[in-house]
C-alpha cells in the first residue's frame, strides 16, 4: 500500500504548552487508520497539522513522499469531516454543499442534480431544495459529509463523524467509508466509540498526553487493551470504588414534563445522596429536559416537585430559589462571565451572601468565601481576580460549580460536566460529584461518555427522541444496552419500509 501522508516527529505548542510531542503518524492508500485518545490527548491538534491548518513547531509533514510546508488544505487534497464544518441554516442543501464554488449566475437545475447524485452516492436521501435549518441534526451531519466529499480527495479525515447519527445511518456512513477505501483513498477515523472503531478500521493509533502510545493492527486489539492504552490504567481504576452511600428521601420529582419536540412526557425522580445518569445520543433531548426543569425554556405541561411539594417554575429564579441548579453544557455561553474574574463569577448566584442588607458588597468577605471555594474545588488558578476566559476548561467548570456551591444548591443538574477537560480535572470533578452525594445532595449527570455514566452513577436513565426510554441498574451497565435504548426507533421502521 502506498504511503499518502507521513508525519514525522511532530511537536506543537501553544503558549509554551505542548499539545503534541514527537508524534509519528502515517496514512496509507486504501486503509482506515483510526486515531483514539482521551479528550485533550492531542487528536484534534494532530489532524489540524495533517490538514495544513496548523504549522508544527518542529517535525515534518510529507505528502506523497515530498516534504510540504504549511499549505492550503484544499491544495493538499485532504478533506476533513468534523464538527467545525459550518452550514448556513437559511440556504438550501444544494447551496450549502457547493457553497465554495457557486457561480455568479446559479444554474439551479444542475446544482440540485449534482447535490442529489452526491447524496445518493453516499446512500442517503435528502431533498437538495430543503433549507438546511429545517433538517434534523442527523441529516445536517450528512450534508456536512456530502460537502466535505463534494470533490475528489486522496485522504479523508472523519473527526467524530457519527456522534449525531443513528446506527442505521452510521452503518450507511461506514459503507461509504468502505467504498472510499476500495477506491484507494486513505481514511483517518477519529472517534470515541471504541467498538465501532475496532470494527471498521485497519490500524489504530492511540494518543495520550500528546504522545503516541502505540499503533496496532485493529484485529489484534480488544476494547480493554485500547482503554488501557488510552488512559494508562485499566478501566476499573478510572473511577473511585463505589462506596455505599445513604440514599435518602426523594428530593426532586419530575412528572409528565413536555416542552417542545425534544421533551415528551418525561418523568423521573432523584433522591438525596443519589447520583443518577442521563444518557442518550446527542439530540435526544437531555439538555432540553434540564432546561425545562429549571424554567430556562417554556414548558407545555408537567409538574416539578421538590422535597415532596410542587413548585411553580416560571423562570430560573424560581428553580434556583428551590435549590435546583444547572451547570450547563455550554459553559462559556450559559454559565460564565468570561471577561470577568473568578470572584465575580463565583458569587453571582448568591450576591446577598456577601452583601449587607442594603446591598453593599463586603469585598473582604467575598474574597475569603471565594478562596475557600477555590480550595474545596481544587481550582488550579490561585489568583481569584484572574479573568475566567484565561482559565483551563477544567477550572472554568470548577468556577461554575463553585457558584452553585456558594448559592447553597441542593439538587445539582450537571450537563456534560467533564466535556473538554483533561484527565486530572475530570477526576477532580468526579470526586466533587461524589462528595456532593455524600453530603446528601441529589445529582443528575448528563453525559455522552458512557464510561463516565457507568463509573459514577447509581443508575442511568436513557433518553431517545425526547422520551425516557428506560433505566439501567449497575448490573445491566453496558454500551450495547444503553445504545439499544437510545437509538431512534423510527429509523428501524423506516429502514424496512422505504430504504433498502
Amino acid at each position: 500500500m502506498a504511503e499518502l501522508a507521513k508525519l514525522i516527529a511532530i511537536t506543537t505548542s501553544f503558549d509554551g504548552v505542548c499539545a503534541l510531542r514527537g508524534v509519528d503518524f502515517e496514512v496509507r492508500s486504501g486503509e482506515v487508520h483510526a486515531l483514539i485518545g482521551e479528550n485533550g490527548s492531542g487528536k484534534s491538534a494532530l489532524m489540524r497539522v495533517l490538514c495544513g491548518q496548523m504549522a508544527p513547531s518542529s517535525g515534518e509533514v510529507r505528502i506523497d513522499g515530498t516534504r510540504v510546508e504549511f499549505r492550503d488544505p484544499r491544495a493538499m487534497s485532504i478533506a476533513i469531516v468534523n464538527q467545525e464544518i459550518a452550514l448556513a441554516p437559511d440556504l438550501s442543501v444544494a447551496e450549502n454543499i457547493f457553497l465554495g464554488e457557486l457561480s455568479h449566475v446559479i444554474a439551479w437545475g444542475a446544482l440540485r442534480r449534482r447535490a442529489r447524485d452526491l447524496i445518493h452516492a453516499l446512500g442517503f436521501d435528502i431533498d437538495p431544495r430543503r433549507q438546511v435549518g429545517s433538517l434534523t441534526v442527523a441529516d445536517q451531519q450528512i450534508v456536512k459529509i456530502a460537502k466535505a466529499l463534494s470533490r475528489k480527495f486522496k485522504i479523508v479525515v472523519f473527526d467524530e463523524p457519527i456522534a449525531e447519527l443513528s446506527t442505521s445511518d452510521a452503518d450507511r456512513l461506514h459503507k461509504v467509508i468502505g467504498k472510499l477505501r476500495s477506491e484507494g483513498v486513505g481514511i483517518v477515523y477519529v472517534s470515541d466509540r471504541l467498538e465501532e472503531v475496532l470494527r471498521i478500521s485497519d490500524r489504530v493509533t492511540v494518543l495520550k498526553d500528546g504522545e503516541v502510545v502505540g499503533t496496532q493492527d485493529a484485529k489484534a486489539l480488544t476494547i480493554d487493551d485500547a482503554i488501557r492504552m488510552m488512559v494508562g490504567r485499566p478501566m476499573s481504576a478510572l473511577f473511585p470504588e463505589k462506596a455505599a452511600r445513604d440514599i435518602g428521601a426523594e428530593r426532586l420529582a419530575v412528572r409528565g414534563l413536555s416542552a417542545g419536540p425534544r421533551v415528551r412526557g418525561v418523568s423521573f425522580s432523584l433522591r438525596s445522596g443519589e447520583i443518577v445518569g442521563l444518557g442518550g445520543l446527542v439530540g435526544a433531548g437531555r439538555t432540553e429536559v434540564a432546561r425545562a426543569i429549571i424554567g430556562a425554556d417554556p414548558r407545555e405541561s408537567g409538574a416539578i416537585h421538590v422535597n415532596g411539594r410542587e413548585i411553580k417554575v416560571r423562570s430560573p429564579a424560581d428553580s434556583v430559589a428551590a435549590g435546583i441548579c444547572l451547570a450547563p453544557e455550554c459553559r462559556e455561553l450559559h454559565g460564565l462571565f468570561p471577561d470577568m474574574s473568578i470572584r465575580f463569577n463565583a458569587t453571582m448566584a448568591n450576591l446577598s451572601g456577601v452583601a449587607n442588607p442594603f446591598g453593599l458588597l463586603k469585598v473582604g468577605l467575598e474574597r475569603t468565601v471565594v478562596m475557600d471555594l477555590g480550595r474545596t474545588l481544587r481550582l488550579r488558578e490561585s489568583r481569584i481576580d484572574a479573568s475566567v476566559s484565561s482559565l483551563s476548561a477544567g477550572d472554568q467548570q470548577k468556577v461554575v460549580l463553585a457558584k452553585w456551591l456558594h448559592a447553597g444548591g441542593e439538587i445539582f443538574i450537571l450537563d456534560e460536566p467533564t466535556r473538554g477537560l483533561d484527565v486530572a480535572d475530570k477526576s477532580d470533578i468526579h470526586a466533587f460529584i461524589i462528595k456532593l452525594a455524600e453530603a446528601g445532595k441529589a445529582v443528575l449527570v448528563i453525559s455522552s461518555e458512557h464510561r463516565e455514566l457507568f463509573g459514577l452513577c447509581d443508575r442511568v436513565l436513557v433518553m431517545g427522541e425526547g422520551q425516557l426510554r428506560g433505566e439501567l441498574q449497575p448490573r445491566d451497565y453496558s454500551e450495547e444496552k444503553l445504545l439499544s435504548l437510545a437509538l431512534p426507533r423510527q429509523a428501524f421502521q423506516q429502514q424496512g419500509e422505504t430504504r433498502s
Binding site: 454559565g335 465575580f344 448559592a407
Partner: protein, 329 residues
C-alpha cells in the same frame, strides 16, 4: 478617585501599549485638547470661561451616567435627549405658568423622567422589544410632548425660578453647583457599580445576560431599574439646563445630547455592546466633549455646524484611540 476606579484585572486581550492607550486614551486626548484650546484662544484658560465650560457640561454629564448604566446592560436609550427637553420644559412651565414652587416643579419634572424610564423599561425588559426601537419611539413622542407644552412660545422662569437659577449659577467649593452635583452623581454611580449587588448584576447582565438569568436572577426588573435611573437623571439634567438659561427656549434643547452623551461613554472606553465601562473614563469623556463644545464656540463655529464638527472630532478621537475596531459591530 481611586474609590471609583475599576478593581480587578482588565481583559487580558490588550497588552502593553494598548492597555495604556485604552486606560488613559481619554485622559491624553483631554490634555491634548486643553493644550490646543489654550494655545489657540487666550480666553480659554480664563476662570470665567472654565466655569462656563463646567456649567455647560453638567447637564450632559449627568445624562452620561444614566446612559452608562444602560449601555452596561448591553442596551441603548435614545430617548435621553428628549427626556431632558421634557424635564426642562416641564419645570419651566410648572414654575412660570402654573406657579408651583421650585422644589415641587423639580420633583414633578424628575418624575416625568421616571415615567418615561418605566415605559422604556417595561417594553424592553418584559415585552422583549428591541431597545433601539422602543427608545426611538419614546424619543419622538416625548419630544412632541415638550413641543405641545411649549406651543411655540419660549417660557421665561421669572421670579418663581430664582432658586433654580441660583442653583445653576452659584458656586460651591469654587465650582458651579450643578457641576458639583454632577460629580456627586459620578461618585454615587461608581460606588453603585463597583460595590453593590445591584451594580454587580448590571455589569453581569452586560457581560452575559443569559448566564445571569440561569443563575436565578430576575433580570427584567434590573433592566427597568436602569431605564428609570437613566430617565430620572435625564429629566434632572433638563431641570439644570432650565436653570442655566433661565427658562425653556425650545423643545430642541438637548437635540444632540444623545450623541454627545453616548460619545462620552464610548470615548471613555465602554463598548456600545456592554460589558466593562468605568465611571471615571466616562467622566473624562464628558470633559472632552465639553471642551470641544467650548472650543468650537470660541473659534466662532456656526451653531449649525457645531454638531457636525462634534461628530467628526469624536469619530477621529475614537479611531486614534482604539483603531477602527472600536466602531465596528
Amino acid at each position: 478617585m481611586t474609590a471609583i476606579s475599576e478593581p480587578g484585572a482588565r481583559a487580558k486581550r490588550y497588552s502593553g501599549f494598548a492597555v495604556v492607550l485604552q486606560r488613559f486614551g481619554a485622559l491624553g486626548f483631554f490634555v491634548a485638547l486643553v493644550i490646543i484650546a489654550a494655545s489657540s484662544s487666550p480666553y480659554f484658560l480664563t476662570g470665567l470661561n472654565l466655569l462656563n465650560v463646567l456649567r455647560n457640561l453638567a447637564g450632559d454629564g449627568i445624562m452620561a451616567v444614566g446612559i452608562l448604566f444602560v449601555i452596561l446592560t448591553g442596551r441603548i436609550d435614545l430617548s435621553v435627549g428628549s427626556i431632558a427637553a421634557l424635564g426642562s420644559v416641564l419645570s419651566a412651565y410648572l414654575i412660570a405658568a402654573s406657579g408651583y414652587s421650585a422644589p415641587v416643579a423639580i420633583l414633578l419634572a424628575v418624575l416625568s423622567g421616571v415615567a418615561c424610564g418605566i415605559v422604556n423599561g417595561v417594553f424592553i425588559a418584559y415585552l422583549k422589544w428591541r431597545s433601539l426601537f422602543v427608545s426611538l419611539a419614546v424619543m419622538l413622542i416625548v419630544r412632541q410632548l415638550s413641543e405641545i407644552t411649549l406651543s411655540g412660545r419660549p417660557i421665561f422662569l421669572g421670579a418663581g425660578g430664582d432658586s433654580l437659577e441660583t442653583f445653576s449659577r452659584s458656586l460651591l467649593f469654587g465650582l458651579p453647583e450643578s457641576f458639583v452635583f454632577m460629580l456627586g452623581a459620578y461618585l454615587l454611580g461608581g460606588i453603585v457599580l463597583n460595590y453593590t449587588r445591584f451594580g454587580r448584576l448590571i455589569t453581569a447582565i452586560g457581560s452575559n445576560e443569559e448566564a445571569v438569568r440561569l443563575s436565578g436572577v430576575a433580570v427584567s426588573r434590573y433592566i427597568v431599574a436602569v431605564y428609570v435611573i437613566c430617565g430620572a437623571l435625564a429629566a434632572g439634567a433638563g431641570v439644570a439646563i432650565t436653570g442655566l438659561i433661565g427658562g425653556a427656549g425650545s423643545a430642541h434643547t438637548s437635540y444632540t445630547v444623545i450623541f454627545e452623551a453616548i460619545a462620552a461613554v464610548v470615548t471613555g472606553g465602554a463598548g456600545l455592546r456592554g460589558g466593562r465601562a468605568g465611571v471615571v473614563t466616562t467622566l473624562l469623556g464628558v470633559l472632552v466633549v465639553g471642551c470641544i463644545t467650548n472650543l468650537m464656540a470660541l473659534a466662532g463655529v456656526s451653531m449649525y455646524w457645531q454638531p457636525v464638527c462634534m461628530v467628526v472630532i469624536i469619530a477621529i478621537a475614537l479611531l486614534i484611540q482604539y483603531g477602527a475596531r472600536s466602531l465596528r459591530r
